[in-house]
Amino acid sequence: MEYIVETKNLTKRFGKEQAVSGLEMKIPKGEIYGFLGPNGAGKTTTIRMLLGLMRPTSGSVHIFQKDLRKERIRILNKVGSLVENPSYYPHLTAGENLEALRKIIGVPKTRIKEVLKIVRLEDVANKKVKGFSMGMKQRLGIAASLLNNPELLILDEPTNGLDPSGIIEIRQLIQRLPHDYGMTVIISSHLLSEIDQMATTVGVVSKGKMIFQDSIEEMRKFAKQKVVLKVSDSESAWRALLARGMRADWDEKNITLLNQSDENVATAVKYLVKDGFSIYRVEEEKKSLEDVFLQMTKEERLV
């Protein structure tokens, strides 16, 4: 398969500390690649190496099947990025910030208006960025990354500092990009739910190592959520479910269904009602990223 981004044995050491070790990242075209991991796992370091901001201690990066070390400029011509906190020149307005970058990449001036419109900053184009809120700076950063019509967009924690409506807006924008412009997108995040809602492919990194890399569907199997039932007289209710041949757990208070498909949950509820138990709550218990990590490492799915 041809990958837009492919790293081989990518490694970065800071003194003794191994920030990234032997990372093999493979991103097919047109995917939204969710790069998931807790803070300090090596996500930003990896992204910095993808952009040539840092030299790998060892290993290689290929983007568009070109060696980053040899053809950095040609690669970066078609890459847009936002690394960590948004970068900006405080003494310039939003429009001027983009103009300073536009002069380098040489796209037409009208592109500035376009990208400001995409991130909905056109009303504040003439305001100095130092007075912007965190969310506005973040959106300006995204606008800057879109300026050169990139084929690969790398966004490091793009929803950082955004308010809920801003998060939804950016999410919708990112989801549109592969379809509308044929872009491949990398988004990093430490939030499982965020990646879950946007990504089509997922790479999970922990302590500098890639511990999982596959489609989002495969990922969801690890992140399986439990369905918890709160009922009256839970112990007898649990026994009643077992008697009808359903698989369930009981922990003194709640019943947990092991098969949480919609039909199975519906059947369980039907049985309980029939057997005369009162059902107070049917809840989904979300798994934290840590639980998923634990499960991934436990099952030794090391990639």
């Binding site: 910095r48 952009l51 040539g52 030299r55 970068s87 300073a100 380098i104 990449i105």
Partner: protein, 243 residues
């Protein structure tokens, strides 16, 4: 090269800090109008006396120090709020970024030199010096002073990229510039100290047969050599800088 240059100029021109360039002629006016160095012995031409006394303070301390400040100014907006990582993730080589900042800097120094030239003329007019303005000598001094700062600017650019704060590169600058006061008194060491070159090359009392008041070999070895050293040092450091 042109796109990044125009972007660099754009960023700088939008900040009001360019007013710093006016400090050059202001200092020139101040020294020219207050200093009284009749004992310097510049000959009968009053312009020479003026030039000797003005250039002394200007080239000895002011020029090396202010060029360092300018170097920090053109790096300041990259150090703030992650400018470097945005700039270096652009499709251009780091070499081009370094060179364009350097060219911008030496252009600013040239502008300041020309403003200083204006201030010399103004001082003469205010003092009512009767002789004609000795442009054939003054331009050598102005241009020579500029050439002599080329290596110093390279070092300060290096330091300004290395350090985020203004004070640190300035401290380096001060450490090398202050000894100049002593060094220029020495015929043995003066010619070899890079920070003494702005003074030597603006010192109109020097050998007027040499094109810049200093011998060619001194110009090439000391100014050229230190330029190569500092420019290459900064250039290579910038290539490897992790941002």
């Amino acid at each position: 090269m042109l796109p990044i240059m125009s972007s660099e100029w754009y960023k700088l021109s939008k900040s009001r800090i360019l007013w710093i360039l006016l400090v050059g002629p202001m200092v020139g006016l101040f020294i020219g109008l207050t200093a009284n160095f009749d004992n310097l012995g510049g000959g009968p031409n009053e312009w020479y006396v003026k030039l000797l006394s003005m250039n002394l303070t200007y080239a000895l301390l002011f020029l090396p120090l202010i060029t360092g400040v300018l170097a920090s100014v053109v790096c300041r907006y990259e150090h703030q709020e992650g400018g470097w990582k945005q700039l270096l993730a652009m499709p251009l080589t780091r070499g081009k970024v370094f060179i364009s900042k350097y060219i911008l800097l030496i252009a600013l120094v040239m502008v300041m030199q020309l403003l200083y030239l204006g201030s010399i003329y103004l001082v003469g007019v205010i003092d009512g010096i009767p002789e004609p303005f000795p442009l054939n000598i003054v331009w050598k001094s102005i241009f020579g002073g500029w050439v002599a700062t080329l290596p110093l600017v390279a070092l300060q650019l290096w330091m300004s990229i290395l350090f985020k704060s203004f004070a640190a590169p300035f401290a380096v600058n001060v450490i090398f510039t202050l000894p100049t006061i002593l060094v220029v008194n020495s015929e043995r060491f003066g010619p070899y100290y890079p920070w003494a070159q702005p003074f030597s090359m603006m010192y109109i009392g020097g050998n007027t047969e040499d094109i810049f008041f200093v011998p060619w070999d001194q110009l090439l070895i000391v100014v050229g050599g230190s330029f190569l050293l500092f420019f290459a040092g900064g250039y290579l450091y910038f290539q490897r800088k992790a941002v």
